[in-house]
């Protein structure tokens, strides 16, 4: 090991309490930064996971307004449409509003052709098609509430009046970690038949249609064609890509996301100030040593590199520990957040951003102490108290 490395390594361990406290601060900050970045990224996961050739058709006025189910066949007849399905957001309460999870009434026959990321076994699919009151739940939701096939789940309607009972037919999995498995799907025909009795005005309507075009080259053409079919009708449509739809949805919470992003960077700035203070104190205490090194022939640059090395070493060790801790902490947070975050997966970009932040903190915290130590005259440095 070179003399420089020896000095850096031993100086890092010299003030153990100070180094440990600085490390704790660094770990907490870089960890918080990573988790917050992951939260923001997860919020956008729907956008990232959107299939480019998948279109969503909704009411042109607002996505909260329904469309007639009768549009189904007319959309299917538009040239370029390979598959079409429909669904309705249910918004029921399971025992208590805090137990929130997404529920959709879907067309059991066509839904899975368009959403292949929902993995359902043939056996479960057959059971779902057999039982009008049937429902399938995602793996994460099943785990959260202990749902098992055969269980009867009662939801209290908020958008649709009354209590609704479903029989769990099975559990579905996600094709990858991005797929939300905290949802419950039940049959739209069950919803519709019940509404015909309980709330006729809400019957024969759906929330939106999902359309598979097959090729992204035809996306613009097909979406225009669909909207053209319903121009000047009672319920005009707006067809957009799934990605555009998700962006529009996420944009409603943009202020929160921006706040989270800002906080994540403020955390880094705070630890930078703490680290800079630590390094300044360290350099001030060692001015006589730096002056001695310069007197015996070492350059001001060598002295500056000693401080830089120490600062970067502490920052990188803290950064490495924080990066190692981020996935388990994010995973635990996802568990605690119930269905708010389907999963909090730390991306490679987030890890790189964490590493870069740690490196930046190490380098920037050393700038002023390096300048001070390199510039102090040997005579003044030798007079300094050690």
């Amino acid at each position: 090991m070179s003399q420089w490395l020896t000095l850096v390594a031993r100086n890092v361990l010299r003030q153990r309490l100070r180094t440990s406290l600085t490390l704790v601060g660094l770990v907490v900050s870089i960890l918080a930064f990573g988790v917050l970045q992951t939260v923001v990224k997860t919020w956008y996961a729907g956008v990232d996971g959107a299939v480019p050739s998948r279109l969503l058709t909704r009411n042109a006025v607002s996505f909260t307004l329904p469309l007639p189910q009768a549009y189904y066949k007319r959309i299917g007849a538009v040239e370029g449409v390979r598959h079409v399905t429909y669904m309705t957001w249910f918004g029921g309460v399971y025992k208590d509003p805090k137990n929130f999870f997404p529920q959709f009434a879907i067309d059991a026959a066509s839904y899975f052709d368009i959403f292949p990321e929902i993995l359902v076994s043939d056996e479960v699919r057959r059971a779902f098609l057999r039982d009008r009151r049937g429902a399938i739940v995602g793996r994460r939701l099943a785990k959260r509430f202990g749902f098992r096939p055969g269980d009867v789940v009662q939801l209290r309607g908020t958008l649709f009046p009354g209590n609704w009972e479903f029989v769990i037919c099975g559990v579905f999995d996600g094709r990858d970690a991005k797929t939300d498995t905290s949802q419950l799907f039940f049959r739209w025909d069950y919803l519709n038949e019940t509404l015909r009795v309980r709330s006729k005005a809400q019957a024969d309507q759906v929330g939106f249609f999902a359309v598979d075009v097959g090729s992204i080259n035809r996306v613009a053409e097909v979406s225009q064609a669909i909207d053209e079919v319903f121009r000047n009708s009672r319920a005009e449509t707006l067809t957009e890509t799934e990605r555009a739809f998700q962006i529009g949805f996420v944009k409603q919470t943009e202020a929160i996301l921006i706040s989270i992003r800002v906080v994540s960077f403020v955390v880094i700035f705070i630890i930078l100030a703490v680290m800079a203070n630590t390094m300044a104190m360290t350099a001030r205490e060692r001015l006589r040593e730096y002056a001695t090194l310069k007197a015996i022939g070492f350059s001001p640059g060598y002295v500056a590199r000693l401080i830089l090395g120490e600062s970067v070493a502490i920052a990188l060790v803290g950064g490495a520990i924080a990066i190692g801790l981020t996935p388990p902490v994010a995973s635990r947070l996802a568990e605690l957040s119930a269905t708010l975050f389907p999963s909090l997966i730390v991306s490679v970009n987030t890890v790189l951003l964490q590493a870069l932040s740690a490196l930046a903190v190490g380098v920037l915290a050393a700038v002023l102490p390096m300048r001070q130590a390199a510039r102090v005259s040997i005579v003044n440095g030798l007079r300094a108290l050690g």
Partner: protein
């Protein structure tokens, strides 16, 4: 013992360090405080010179100028024919590494390095291989009688031992001269005697030129010559004959 006027000191005779018309002042707030004024004298090769004088007389400033860690406002300082006042900072650092060994009052060892590593430190600037650096550092430590303390940290050594490590560090590069600023100022009498004995031996047996600032008359008594400074000027010089 012969007391000479400064003007009587022979010049040009195997001179190692020549000061010519050297002045130095410091700024204290708005005030300029002169420390040395138009100093001219020579130091010969293999000299052991003690610089004495009351506090504020400028002896440490003079030592700093000779060692090249401070620069004069005016005048020239020539060491072995090279005017060090003309050297840029980076070259001056190289010059110090090759020509000056420092012994400080408070030892100024690196607390995180062992005695051997401290002594080896200046050799890392020489381009020597690690093995050779280690051998030379061992040799320097043995010259100051610390072969058995190589792995000790400074905090595990007494003051006298630390100063001996500092002497080993000063001589390990075989510099042209050693400069010592109150080398016994922080030591008890016995340790001080041991350190002075080593310095005297380095001068006598190895021909090292030593310039030492001291308040201690007993320390100065080990030198071949004593220069007295008074208010930034040489007042008188004592030539000593030592056995």
């Amino acid at each position: 013992m012969t007391v000479l006027r400064v003007s009587d000191v022979p010049t040009g005779e195997d001179v190692l360090i020549a000061l010519s018309d050297v002045s130095k002042s410091y700024r204290r707030g708005a005030q300029i405080v002169p420390v040395l004024s138009k100093l001219t004298f020579d130091i010969r090769r293999k000299e052991f010179l003690a610089l004495m004088g009351p506090s504020g007389s400028g002896k440490s400033t003079l030592l700093n100028l000779i060692a090249g860690i401070d620069s004069p406002d005016h005048g020239s300082i020539t060491v072995a024919g090279e005017d060090i006042t003309l050297l840029p900072e980076a070259d001056l650092a190289d010059w110090r590494a090759a020509n000056v060994g420092f012994i400080f009052q408070f030892y100024n060892l690196m607390p995180v390095l062992t005695a051997l590593e401290n002594v080896e430190l200046p050799l890392t600037l020489t381009g020597l291989k690690r093995r050779e650096r280690r051998d030379r550092a061992q040799l320097a430590l043995s010259l100051v009688g610390l072969s058995d303390r190589v792995k000790h940290l400074p905090s595990e050594l007494s003051g006298g031992q630390q100063q001996r490590v500092a002497i080993a560090r000063a001589i390990v590069t075989d510099p042209t001269m050693l400069v010592a600023d109150e080398p016994t100022g922080d030591l008890d009498r016995q340790s001080a005697e041991e350190v002075l004995e080593i310095m005297q031996r380095l001068n006598r047996d190895m021909g090292k030129t030593i310039v030492m600032v001291t308040h201690d008359r007993r320390a100065a008594a080990r030198a071949k010559r004593i220069m007295h400074l008074e208010k930034g000027d040489l007042s008188y010089l004592v030539e000593q004959r030592l056995e």
